[in-house]
């Protein structure tokens, strides 16, 4: 017997408050890549420390030099500390750069570095002077860094480890298990600190107390920052997902709306091209009307979707690679050529190489609509002059000029409105959707292009598009002015 399959519809993801969906409780570990980057940064800092130790050791080799500063020659300990740090750095770098990445995770690398450093630091603290100098506060570097790198409980462990190592060192010194050391030449200094037990305890305890307070503050601030980072990352992920969802929706909608017309168109062709036998002339005329309306509706759907897609673009502006505008214009002319031939309209093209930063799809939409309009509103046998010219400032200028029906001056400011069609334009061609120039305006608005139009009824219309030589900042400029639709001239 077959097992019955079951499926439960997952609950919809909450969209309103990104912070609400963030994991509660302790802050999670940072991603592996960030931890590795931190490990590398940690190694670079350690080269400086290593250099300091080696330099101090070398100074100690110069007879009498440190003594003049009231310090005693350190002997071998700075070189030992430098050598241990060198070995740790080589291993940590090899791991972080991938040579031994398979052996341990990035967090293990960081942990190993921090523990190694704390042990070396304790060794240094002992030799520099655990009570008579402020070197013990160097533990703070590791405590603060661990607050940045690790979740709160891990950074607390680092703080406790620092406290334990420091107090252990002091305790062993006090008990006489570790020989008295220190960098001050005056050995009596420590004896002079022979304070009452309560004062001594406060003196020893001051450093760990300060570290714990610093840990608390740094861990709190770091958790806040990490929480904001995660919120931002989550919001960004949702935006990208929404953008992809919209793109998929656009594709699917285009397909779903266009596919039926494709089937109708194919079946109409079966009839009109005689694949189903001869048809009377009247039937041919009816099929012609069906075909025309289908094509018009398909174009309208296509243009509505393009306009909606451009108008609702909320994502980052698309990339603008430097492309030759003349090639894009040539491509558009080739697309419109069959329709131009049908309407006995010829092109006079003067296309000079003009490399400018441009969104290719947008430029194709813009030029395609301008050239298509020029053909549509030309008289049979007319010419359409198309030019692309580079500008001295690195930009380019494209013009599309027809000898068609022209536009009355009073109507020019309205031609870029969606669905606006002048009466004479409707009389000349009923197939147009009235969306072509709205798409042109939207592209100009989105990409910061200046579009101008000059027209005279009965003489023709000339559109000019100015492409800047560099990508203009769409935020910095006024939105109304960016498309630069110029008023009627002539």
């Amino acid at each position: 017997m077959c097992a019955m399959a079951s499926y439960t519809l997952p609950l919809a993801e909450r969209r309103t408050a990104p912070a609400a969906s963030l994991p509660a409780g302790p802050s999670p570990e940072l991603p592996e890549g960030i931890l590795l980057r931190n490990a590398l940064w940690f190694c670079r800092l350690r080269w400086l420390v290593l250099g300091l130790f080696a330099g101090f050791g070398l100074l100690g080799l110069a007879p009498g030099l440190l003594a003049r500063a009231g310090l005693r020659p350190p002997g071998a300990w700075p070189f030992i500390a430098a050598a241990v740090l060198l070995a740790a750095n080589v291993l940590a770098l090899a791991h972080a750069r991938g040579a031994a990445r398979h052996l341990a995770a990035a967090s293990t690398n960081l942990w190993a570095q921090i523990i190694n450093d704390l042990v070396v630091l304790t060794y240094v603290v002992h030799h520099v002077g655990s009570l008579e100098t402020a070197v013990g506060f160097a533990y703070l570097f590791h405590i603060v860094l661990s607050c940045i790198f690790f979740p709160r409980r891990w950074s607390f462990l680092v703080t406790m480890l620092a406290c334990g190592l420091y107090l252990g060192c002091v305790a062993l010194e006090e008990a006489g298990s570790l020989a008295q050391a220190g960098i001050y030449a005056n050995a009596a200094l420590r004896e002079q600190m022979d304070l009452l037990p309560g004062v001594r305890l406060a003196h020893v305890g001051w450093a760990p107390f300060t570290w714990i307070v610093v840990w608390y503050l740094a861990a709190h601030l770091s958790a806040e920052v990490q929480s904001r980072d995660r919120e931002l990352a989550e919001t960004n992920r949702r935006l990208l997902a929404a953008q992809e969802e919209r793109r998929q929706h656009m594709l699917r909608t285009t397909h779903e709306l266009k596919a039926p017309f494709s089937a109708i168109h194919a079946n109409v062709q079966l009839l009109t091209k005689g694949h189903c036998g001869e048809l009377p002339a009247e039937a041919h005329a009816v099929l012609g009307r069906i075909s025309t309306r289908c094509r018009r509706l398909a174009n309208e759907i296509q243009e509505m979707l393009q306009l909606a897609n451009l108008a609702s673009a909320t994502e980052e502006p698309p990339p603008k690679p430097v492309l030759d505008l003349s090639q894009i214009m040539r491509w558009c002319l080739a697309q419109v050529a069959p329709r131009a031939e049908e309407r006995q309209v010829t092109f006079d093209a003067d296309l000079q190489p003009a490399p400018v930063p441009v969104v290719e799809d947008h430029a194709k939409m813009l030029f395609g609509n301008l050239v298509s309009n020029a053909v549509t509103y030309s008289h049979p046998g007319g010419h359409v002059a198309v030019a692309v010219t580079p500008e001295p400032d690195g930009g380019a200028c494209a013009t599309v000029a027809d000898q068609g029906i022209g536009i009355a001056p009073a109507k020019l400011p309205r031609i870029f409105e969606p669905y606006y069609r002048a009466d004479e334009a409707v009389r000349h061609n009923r197939e147009s959707t009235g969306l072509g120039l709205a798409i042109v305006r939207q592209v100009a608005d989105t990409d910061g292009l200046r579009v101008g139009v000059e027209s005279e009824p009965g003489v023709g219309t000339r559109f000019t598009v100015q492409f800047p030589g560099s990508d203009p900042n769409p935020v910095a400029e006024g939105k109304e002015d960016r498309h630069g639709l110029s008023p009627a001239r002539g």
């Binding site: 656009m250 397909h255 266009k258 089937a263 079966l270 091209k273 694949h275 979707l305």
Partner: protein, 139 residues
């Protein structure tokens, strides 16, 4: 003349295109989904396959099928592929001929829907002729 496989989930379009292609002398088999297309191709290798892009289960099933044919099925690797799409347009939303690429879009040519059926016949003829000229001569 040639054995063609037409893969399209739109039965009305597929029937009309198949009729015209049959009228041009070709033998045409129609598959309405990509699984049955693969099955059909493994039973009998077509001289050319015409693929739609979007299918109900996936908006890129046609691309996936093209990649599968080119990369995974050795016996079908050199079958000429002609892709049909309703998404591409005179003003692009999707891809263009420059995207015909062995990895991204491994097809020989594509046509935009609504398709002129005479153009479809002509393009099929061109691709078959090109494939015949590239085939090593039989002894």
């Amino acid at each position: 003349m040639a054995y063609l496989l037409l893969v399209d989930d739109d039965e009305d379009f597929a029937a009309a295109a198949a009729k015209v292609l049959r009228g041009a002398g070709h033998e045409v088999h129609v598959a309405l989904d990509t699984d049955s297309a693969v099955e059909s191709m493994q039973q009998r290798r077509p001289d050319l396959a015409i693929l739609d892009v979007m299918f109900p289960e996936s908006s890129s099933a046609g691309f996936d099928l093209a990649r599968q044919i080119r990369q995974d099925i050795k016996a079908l690797r050199d079958v000429p592929l002609l892709m049909l799409t309703a998404v591409n347009s005179r003003f692009p939303l999707g891809f263009s001929s420059k995207d015909i690429d062995e990895h991204w879009l491994p097809v020989d040519d594509f046509l935009e829907k609504p398709v002129d059926l005479d153009l479809l016949c002509a393009r099929v003829g061109d691709l078959l002729a090109r494939a015949a000229s590239q085939r090593p001569p039989r002894k």
